[in-house]
Symmetry: C2
Subunit: 210 residues, 2 copies
């Protein structure tokens, strides 16, 4: 069989042989490309900014309309909620301060769906005015902290050990409606993995009572 | 000339033709690979963490020795200074609060070297106790801010419009010696570029007097 094919090829002119070889290579490369792009999950790299122009967008938020203001705090919050709610199996939250109801409600919804949610919080801020940490506990989400004069100053979460969201942005109403802040979302392994390991180490170190 | 080459190829057996085509392709791919890897700058993705264990490392910092504590605040600060001092043409700093002398001195050294340094600072924090913003101004570094009830809460810099360093970490002595904090360094275009554009927009919006 292979002998026949080689014999047939030998009888053809050079241009035909070269053409067939090139066509076969294109088919192999294309099949490989489509196979890989199907298997590989989408790579995420996204940046959001909060500015002092965010507060002016409150009205459109109530109408849930689309916003064309690039620094729109409400569009950013909706986007962060989408990332929280994209969790399928785990959601690890490490947060200095959470008073924003939209974000807290997203976390509670994910927990109700059966996703394994874990929260690390700052010991003093957890008991501060408007903090949602007590609400998390009431609904059965495990929360850990550490009694310390130092601040648990992180503001990140990791979805399914795969997507990291982090930045300067505190999850408060003040940060939403005026501060200049940033949030980075990434699925880059060499950035997500250290955060994932750091969360695991803090989770082991911290306790339920702080 | 081309006719002669084609004629020579036609006279050869199929196996020889296929071998020569494949060899030529390998040579072309290899040349392309080495050419690209020479032109393309090194990709940077790095994560640093600060923990409550940082303070214990003060002694080794004074000896400038190597530290094996992963959360060592002083090793992190040295690393951040290295990134600041790697600036060749521009250094854009957007910072809530800077009281750490090591970081401030690195910025001053870069400025003295002739690098174009620009600083955006929080209006109230710039005049706070220990703030290095007045020192920057005294040495001729342009500083801009905006009078506002809101916080300029970013903590990032961009080196040569190419490397971004950002995180939850404030450039203070307290953050260095105890808080749990993170810093991400990246040269990913789709993350660095939005920060670069954001800095340019704030620079245009803000003024020298706030």
């Amino acid at each position: 069989m292979l002998g026949n094919i080689l014999h047939w090829f030998e009888a053809q002119p050079f241009s035909k042989v070269a053409g067939i070889i090139t066509a076969l290579q294109v088919i192999i490369y294309a099949s490989y490309y489509f196979a890989v792009s199907k298997v590989k999950p989408k790579v995420i790299n996204e940046v959001m900014f909060f500015t002092d122009q965010g507060a002016g967008c409150q009205e459109h938020n109530e109408n849930k309309g689309r916003c064309y203001n690039e620094g729109c705090a409400y569009s950013n919050i909706r986007r962060i909620c989408e990332y929280i709610e994209s969790s399928r199996s785990t959601l690890d939250v490490c947060i200095y301060l959470i008073t924003c109801h939209d974000l807290a409600n997203s976390i509670l919804r994910v927990h109700r769906r059966g996703v394994s949610v874990r929260v690390i919080a700052d010991c003093d801020m957890a008991e501060g005015s408007g903090s949602q940490v007590a609400v998390f506990r009431r609904f059965g989400i495990p929360v850990r902290m550490k009694k310390s004069p130092y601040l648990m100053h992180h503001k990140f979460f990791v979805v399914d050990h795969w997507i990291l969201l982090t930045g300067s942005f505190n999850w408060t109403m003040q940060a939403i409606t005026g501060n200049w802040d940033n949030v980075i979302v990434t699925s880059r392994r060499d950035i997500v993995e250290p955060f994932d390991n750091h969360f695991a180490a803090l989770w082991d170190e911290f306790t339920a009572t702080g």
